[in-house]
């Protein structure tokens, strides 16, 4: 397995490298287009601010390379947002993004002072799609119309399996490309995961999300993603 982690001075790549190391995987940290094209899997971490990240990608010529890749590709946090068309983040009207996926990134507008921005901490995933999330649980929905013969879970407490770690002030709305949802504020879903063809993205820090994150990373690196 030949894994490339894209190096564009885009933040916390070391944490991603260590997470891969804990899974027993070696990766190459690189900004070389040939090395990236030749990899079996590409990880695209990101932290910080969208316009600076796009500036760094353009300076390295990667804004032209990344959209042409065909192997499984995973953008993490800001790396996911950069796969969209446009972000409200950035000076004077926002930032043009890479455009592999048809979403526009917008800022959280909290309804009251109790809802803080950034959306920071552990939140749960639901409406999971694709084998990227194989092996994860989802909260049990108990509807009023449920079959009376149905055996309900003994406890409706959530399980640790549902939770991953988020830190972000901007988000991608839910659309056809959404493969996992999370709600913030409660009841208002956004895209926690996205996919178009080989391009996957996760809004949460999969490399810092405990055993759940490790399972998802493992699925990305070894699974048949279709």
């Amino acid at each position: 397995m030949n894994i490339a982690v894209i190096d564009y001075q885009g933040g916390n790549v070391q944490s991603v490298l260590f997470a891969l190391e804990r899974l027993g995987m070696n990766a190459t940290l690189t900004s070389d287009p040939d090395v990236i094209r030749g990899a079996d899997r590409v990880l695209f971490p990101g932290e910080g601010e969208a316009s600076s990240a796009m500036r760094a990608l353009r300076a390295a010529g990667l804004d032209k390379v990344l959209p042409t890749l065909t192997q499984p590709f995973l953008g993490i946090c800001l790396g996911m947002q950069l796969l969209g068309r446009h972000s409200q983040e950035g000076p004077a009207g926002g930032t043009e993004l890479l455009g592999m996926l048809p979403f526009d990134v917008v800022r959280f507008t909290p309804p009251d002072a109790a809802h803080k921005v950034p959306h920071m901490g552990w939140n749960n995933l639901h409406d999971l799609k694709t084998p990227l999330f194989a092996g994860l649980h989802e909260p049990v929905e108990v509807s009023a119309q449920s079959d009376s013969n149905q055996v309900l879970a003994p406890s409706l407490l959530p399980t640790a399996a549902d939770y991953v770690y988020f830190v972000h002030s901007y988000y991608a709305p839910v659309g056809d490309y959404t493969i996992a949802q999370t709600s913030y504020p409660a009841g208002v879903p956004f895209s926690a995961g996205v996919r178009y063809r080989n391009f996957y993205g996760l809004q949460f820090h999969v490399e810092k999300s405990g055993p759940v994150g490790e399972r998802i990373l493992h699925n990305f690196l070894t699974g048949d993603l279709g």
């Binding site: 070391q14 002072a113 959306h119």
Partner: protein, 261 residues
């Protein structure tokens, strides 16, 4: 649903945990990497490493420690303690720390918050505020006044605490780590009124610190206190509360929590 967070704080000096622990199965209780990994495994939501080293070797040992913790631990962690220079912040974040906590340096030079937030993003910048109640009003009263202190609560800096927290958040801090020096070490509970006042004044998450002694103290500061996270050290180190037991209690009390396992 976004959960409230439990944070364990490790005081380290020259790369070793300073406050003792009661853990029996650790290979070496003085090794902060082993302790951090153990807390992560038990289900703690986040870690803070507070470096109290005062030698010129500080920077090198701290970066080495951050690398080792980042290598072992699969949850987020913050590093703090005497950090001031932009280059130090950069080196710590590049070594695998998720956030850096600043205290005295940003009181001396508040513009540093703006600069660091622009450069590394607000999510990586925690401003730690140590405060002490400076009037005699009973706790929680509307007219209680809090002042910012440094040096473990010994040196007043002449700033009112709620206003300073608001300024720090407006300048770009992504989180406020709020310690009541009046409650720290008492084990009588967190400063509820003060935490509530700061939480209402800032748009970013507030971590409450100082005074944890019992499970109900966590519930009180996370629900009526309005904190997004509660930090503690000794109750975890000495085994008064287990992470799993505390989380089960808080879940039963209606606090949104990531279950321990």
């Amino acid at each position: 649903m976004l959960t409230k967070r439990l944070i364990a704080c490790l005081d380290v000096q020259n790369g070793r945990t300073v406050k003792g622990t009661n853990f029996v199965n650790l290979r070496d209780a003085g090794d902060p990497v082993a302790l951090a990994a153990r807390y992560a495994q038990e289900g703690i939501d986040e870690l803070v490493l507070l470096d109290i080293t005062a030698t010129v070797e500080k920077r090198r040992t701290l970066i080495e420690l951050v690398r080792n913790v980042a290598r072992e631990v699969n949850i987020p962690f913050t590093v703090g303690g005497g950090i001031g220079a932009v280059a130090d912040v950069e080196a710590l974040l590049l070594s695998g720390a998720d956030k850096v906590s600043l205290n005295s340096s940003v009181l001396r030079e508040p513009g540093l918050i703006d600069e660091l937030a622009r450069r590394f993003g607000s999510q990586a910048i925690v401003v730690a505020v140590d405060a002490r109640q400076t009037n005699e009003t009973s706790q929680g009263a509307a007219d209680e006044t809090w002042e910012v202190f440094t040096h473990g609560g010994r040196h007043p800096v002449g700033r009112e605490a709620v206003a300073w927290c608001r300024e720090a958040a407006e300048r770009g801090a992504g989180e406020i780590l709020l310690t009541s020096m009046s409650h720290d070490g008492t084990r009588d509970g967190y400063a509820l009124g003060f935490t509530r006042a700061v939480s209402a004044a800032v748009g970013v998450p507030v971590i409450a610190s100082g005074g944890a002694g019992a499970a109900s103290h966590f519930r009180d500061v996370l629900l009526p206190g309005g904190a997004e996270a509660a930090l503690a050290a000794s109750v975890f180190h000495f085994g008064d509360l287990s992470v799993a037991g505390l989380k089960n209690y808080l879940l039963a009390e209606g606090v949104a929590m990531r279950p321990a396992g």
